[in-house]
Symmetry: C2
């Protein structure tokens, strides 16, 4: 059973070109009362000031891959973001943070998504509560080998909020407002939880579990095909073996050959071209979440 | 009267994170026969290889603002893109290029647009021809004080192709295909022109003329408002005095107070935040283009 969640760190600008989180944090820094709840202390933080200033994802290395315990302990890793990760980690320890929320945005059409590295009961209850309020909300369970490297993994409890599709470097007022509302509901839930007032009722929860990542077809480093038009902006919609994944520059379809009823996400995320990820494949899960 | 157009330079990657043009040029370099026309010699060129490699708009200064004659002549301007501009200009001279096409993309919802710095008869005839083939095509007349600085201004004749909305750093197969088709039609027109086979028929042409650029509301350098949701993705749709332009982070509307029946374009272009441009306002023009 989880104790009370009292100290929450809310991060924006972990990637310096994802403006939604950056401007939400700036808003909260200017109007701290918006995050006030009687049982909570919420710290709004801009993760990567240097990348934010330059409007780039990162300056030397992706900050959101710098938090593995062995990397934090390695004092010879001194790229800017590696240093930054160590100070962020220390700040979380010093302030006894027990819940991290990390705000992101994506060029993929993932709408409003919360991403979990862990399906512990607390996370599932929280997800279930938020899904009831926001029927459009998607829950993504994404526990890759890299999960320890993520900012949200600094605490046992925590999640990322992902909003899209939105280009890097811009704000979309509708997506800004949606993300802001979700944050308030999340804080309301934690408050209710701390007050032992969560209604003890079971709910169905649908979530999507990442099981594979697919790269673009390539010739050396260079890609040789694009996301197929049938798939572009179709995150969380099922595909089956034989459906087109890519369209080569010469106009040929490249088909998916794999499990049926899989749900691609992070389709055509700009930052993932360099990571060798054209999309992540997920399986849809439906479970009953109990609250007692 | 314009002589024959025989040598055409077709540029992609003038901005290194606008992938549509980059991958079209790569395709043409690999399959040069696609650009073959009996009276034309077409040179496909990647403008800024260093920016393309780093997937950024530019490395030191915007290449597409480096072509003013006084800057080209100034041998003390030695930032990477300033040097590059001088060599590109020289290459155009050496090859006796008389028409430049520069491929761009935008996060604004401008669909398929051709941009002219000059409304000479040749440009208008060409635009009229292309508009008949592609009813969705928009023609933008954008002759700012900066027009001499643009790559397309290296020759008297030439234009930019702009496609959107698309995030920086990604490809969208549908937009790639649309741009490719437009290029072929453009070459077909030049070929027909050279062969003196243009049909001598008058056509109506609608174009949009930029007359003003509007910045975001700011506090110092930082913006204090977003593009209003009513306006986001509504390029080329008319607004009137009293319509909302921006939404502050606190939720207040900021209204447009100016001429009525104006048509904003480049709404929320990512690269224009740093240039102090939230949108460009245009007036709609309708003229008759004659061909004799």
């Amino acid at each position: 059973m989880v104790k009370k969640i009292e100290k929450i760190a809310l991060f924006g600008g972990t990637h310096g070109n994802e403006m939604t989180g950056i401007y939400l944090i700036k808003k909260f820094l200017q109007h701290p009362y918006l995050l006030k709840r009687s049982t909570l202390q919420v710290f709004p933080l801009l993760s990567n000031p240097k990348a934010i200033k330059s409007r780039v994802r990162y300056t030397e290395i992706d900050l959101n891959r710098c938090f593995a315990p062995e990397d934090l302990e390695n004092l010879d890793q001194v790229l800017y973001e590696q240093l930054l990760a160590k100070t962020i980690h220390q700040k979380l320890l010093n302030n006894q943070i027990n819940f991290v929320v990390d705000l992101h945005s994506t060029t993929a059409n993932m709408g409003l998504t919360i991403i979990l590295s862990d399906t512990n009961k607390f996370h599932l209850q929280l997800s279930s509560y938020l899904s009831l309020i926001y029927p459009e909300l998607k829950v993504l369970y994404y526990a890759s080998k890299e999960k320890d490297k993520l900012l949200r993994s600094n605490t046992d409890l925590g999640l990322s909020i992902e909003i899209g599709s939105i280009a890097q470097g811009i704000l979309d007022a509708n997506l800004f407002i949606k993300t802001e509302k979700l944050i308030y509901s999340l804080l309301d839930y934690l408050e209710t939880y701390n007050q032992n007032k969560i209604e003890e009722k079971s709910h169905n929860l649908v979530f999507y579990e990442v099981f594979e990542r697919i790269d673009y077809p390539r010739d050396g480093e260079d890609i040789t095909a694009m996301i197929h038009p049938n798939l572009q902006f179709k995150d969380y919609q099922p595909i089956n073996s034989g459906d087109p994944l890519f369209l080569t520059f010469e106009g040929e379809n490249i088909l998916y050959k794999g499990l049926s009823e899989v749900y691609p996400v992070f389709i055509n995320e700009a930052a993932y071209y360099e990571k060798g990820i054209a999309m992540c494949l997920t399986k849809r899960r439906e479970i009953t979440v109990t609250f007692h």
